[in-house]
């Protein structure tokens, strides 16, 4: 209990898709602070609000269905309650699926914290033929129950005031709590006896005993450490005899929920087929669902190229280019390396960062709409049977598919996947999706190399690329994850119209994260690459980059590439389209693209051309993608693993293509 004037700590908990974040956004407004939970890749969102003269610190806890399935979200929620001692936790529940939502409440009630239940989406429940009396539910549960329609902002202030009142309430908090199923009651008492005096604050013996019976991995490890060996063996014997408790305890909680809701919930009439049921006839259909998904994706790509690409060009020509020109003029007296460092290193890097912003905003908007509307879950459900074949999860489909536009949002989009293994696999595979920049390089170079045969060659290259992607997925799943299967369990929530505010916030925070984290890495890497291309002083031909390219010449020879092509590949690290510009400089074709096309056609054999194009498709991801990989994996090790993997794949595939062409006699004939 806090005295007036002292800030009060309130956590907001809830299952996924219940409007928890909407409530959090409404309450905290612009005061939000976004960080990470210690040691986790999950965002911690916190904000403050003043209510009746008292400052409330509000923490948005990650959405979680229960507190017993070993996921980081669950551990965060329970550690927050046990370690940070919030004055009150507000649990937001979806009234349209009340029983399932109260399961989390049943688990929260076992922890030492005061609870307020916010009953959201009462309007939706009503349209489903469910009538709920909040005051009756409050009386049975013995805790405050506040009605909410968060999408319209209704009921939020009374909810906060009730939380504040409960935080200051002098009387002890004594709600109804679920009891353990009868066959395990004696075992629970025995366990409590064994644990007594060994359980350190703030854990509580009854809770620990229940979690042991449920087979909670973390609590089991902790208890093993707390207890002397003799008592631990007694605990293990009890747990073995009550192995079925893991199934009985959840059933017991639902029995309790049934008793709690009996008087408060009525279903006065049978609901008609709901909007969700009607839409799902199309959205989860194996054929129509897939077509719908491709139509939505086509729309996203169209918007990207209609809005994102022009905005990108505008930012570059109206923002970055004048800045670079200005820097060059302002520094005309300075040594050339200073001008170069600033204009071609720093500002070029910053330019790369800035020009990604429009594309990212379009993609995050798309991802946000899909996720909040409920379509994302349908896409995952429909695509699961295909993704499963390459060791992936249905949820990996949309992030990967968006990768055809740009790999950066594909890598960042992987954060929508909760399960750690499929998320990492998606991050590692995303750079293998041929992005629009790589497709543009292919579109420019295949006609130069192959004239009339360009289209089949380009299509063939994309097919090779996708085959490598699929094979890598299967191989990584076997080798790195030892073929361990991640269960596919997904809730298909009711369809919702996404809230514009929540969407704007989603787009803004994700873009900001990119600017802050990935942006720094991009600028640093750009400066390094500039230095490699500029130093020790003459021109690109004699730079460290060129020397490096020449040093790699033996490797290049195995692929049929001369050092100029190797350097062009290396230059594509900054941005994939740089491959063309670099070839232009090194083949001295001048600025005009036509000149380059003719030069290339005259100097390069088809086998070499195919080898170069294959390598370009699979070569190490661009600097922005690498930065995004680092940001999302929080690990340079996994990032370097991914980059090395692509390097090896590119070299290997190019070598195979080159030697097959040579065997077929395409090595010397010119197109």
């Amino acid at each position: 209990m806090s005295a007036a004037g002292e800030p009060i700590l309130i956590g907001i908990a809830g299952q996924p898709n219940v409007g928890k974040s909407t409530v959090f956004n409404l309450v905290t407004g612009l005061s939000q602070h976004i960080g990470n939970w210690p040691g986790k890749t999950i965002e911690r969102r916190e904000g403050t609000v003043t209510c009746d003269g008292t400052t409330l610190r509000i923490v948005d806890l990650p959405g979680t269905y229960s507190l017993t399935a070993d996921s980081p979200e669950e551990r965060i929620t329970r550690d927050f309650i046990l370690r940070e001692h919030p004055d009150v936790v507000i649990m937001i529940a979806d009234a349209a699926a009340l029983e399932r939502n109260l399961y989390l409440l049943a688990e929260l009630l076992a922890l030492p914290v005061r609870l307020v239940l916010g009953l959201n989406m009462l309007d939706v429940a009503e349209s489903q033929g469910i009538a709920i009396a909040p005051h009756v539910l409050a009386a049975t549960l013995g805790l405050p129950v506040m009605p909410l329609v968060a999408s319209r902002g209704e009921g939020v202030s009374p909810l906060l005031r009730e939380a504040l009142r409960l935080a200051r309430e002098p009387a002890p908090f004594a709600p109804s709590r679920p009891e353990i199923a009868a066959p395990h009651r004696a075992a629970l008492a025995q366990l409590r006896g064994l644990l007594a005096r060994h359980v350190p604050e703030p854990c509580e013996p009854t809770w620990v005993a229940t979690k042991l019976l449920e087979g909670d991995r973390e609590v089991t490890e902790l208890a093993h450490g707390w207890l002397p060996e003799r008592k631990w063996r007694a605990v293990q014997a009890l747990l073995e005899a009550h192995e079925d408790a893991g199934l009985d305890i959840p059933s017991g909680r639902y029995e309790w929920i049934g008793r709690m809701t009996r008087a408060a919930v009525r279903r006065p009439h049978l609901a008609h087929a709901s909007l969700t049921d009607r839409l799902d006839r199309w959205a989860v259909h194996p054929l129509w669902g897939v077509l719908l998904l491709f139509a939505v994706s086509a729309l996203v790509f169209a918007v990207t190229f209609q809005v994102g690409a022009p905005a990108q060009q505008w930012l570059d020509s109206a923002g970055i280019e004048p800045l670079r020109a200005w820097a060059a003029r302002a520094l005309s007296g300075a040594p050339p390396w200073v001008t170069g460092l600033l204009a071609d290193g720093l500002l070029a890097g910053a330019g790369t960062v800035v020009t990604f912003v429009p594309i990212l905003m379009v993609f995050f908007t798309a991802l946000g709409v899909l996720e909040a509307s409920g379509l994302f879950a349908r896409a995952a459900y429909v695509m699961h049977r295909f993704m499963y074949l390459i060791g992936l999860h249905g949820k990996s489909f949309l992030p990967l598919f968006l990768g055809f536009g740009c790999n950066v949002p594909a890598v960042m989009g992987a954060r929508i996947i909760e399960e750690p293994r499929p998320r990492l696999l998606t991050i590692l595979l995303a750079p293998l999706v041929p992005c629009s920049a790589r497709l543009a390089v292919i579109a420019f170079l295949t006609p130069a190399f192959f004239g009339g045969a360009a289209l089949p060659v380009a299509v063939g290259l994309v097919i090779i690329n996708l085959a490598v992607l699929a094979a890598t997925g299967v191989a990584l799943n076997r080798a790195v994850f030892h073929g361990r299967h991640t269960p596919f369990i997904i809730e298909l929530p009711l369809y919702h119209v996404p809230s514009a505010r929540a969407l704007a916030r989603f787009v803004w925070t994700n873009t900001l994260v990119f600017l802050r984290n990935a942006g720094t890495v991009i600028v640093v890497l750009s400066v390094l690459v500039w230095a490699a291309a500029y130093l020790p002083g003459a021109d690109l031909d004699h730079s460290y980059l060129a020397r490096f390219g020449r040093a790699l010449a033996p490797l290049g020879t195995a692929l049929g590439l001369d050092w100029r092509m190797v350097v062009a590949l290396l230059a594509s690290f900054i941005a994939k389209e740089n491959a063309i510009a670099t070839l232009g400089i090194l083949y001295s074709a001048g600025a005009s693209g036509v000149g380059l096309a003719q030069t290339l056609a005259a100097q390069v054999s088809p086998a070499t051309a195919l080898s170069f194009l294959t390598a370009t498709m699979l070569f190490i991801p661009c600097v922005a993608t690498v930065a995004a990989m680092r940001q999302e994996t929080h690990s340079w090790r996994w990032t370097l693993f991914g980059v090395t993997l692509m390097f090896v794949l590119a070299i290997g595939a190019a070598a195979v293509v080159y030697h097959i062409c040579r065997l077929m006699g395409a090595g010397f004939a010119h197109a």
Binding site: A97, Y103, V284, H384, I489, E491
Partner: protein, 81 residues
């Protein structure tokens, strides 16, 4: 209402109502399903099952998609109206 024997959810056709009798696949799977409303004793309705690909069920007003492997671990008793 008559009942038939216990069998896997993966073989139930769409439209069937059933009661969950057992969950195989360890506590991890059972724990995750419990939070979504699917426990021993709960009643479910199969919304989609095409013999390949995931299975869609409705349980406690919640639509849950389950991979075939997961569906096979849910043992149910079909209810025949």
């Amino acid at each position: 209402m008559t009942t038939s024997d216990v069998g896997s959810l993966a073989v139930l056709p769409a439209g069937t109502h059933a009661v969950v009798r057992r969950l195989r696949g360890g506590r991890g799977l059972a724990g995750r399903l419990a939070g979504m409303g699917l426990t021993v004793g709960s009643r479910l309705e199969v919304l989609q099952n095409r013999g390949h690909g995931p299975v869609l069920v409705r349980v406690r007003d919640t639509r849950i998609g389950l991979g075939r492997g997961e569906a096979a671990k849910v043992l149910v008793e079909a209810l025949h109206p």
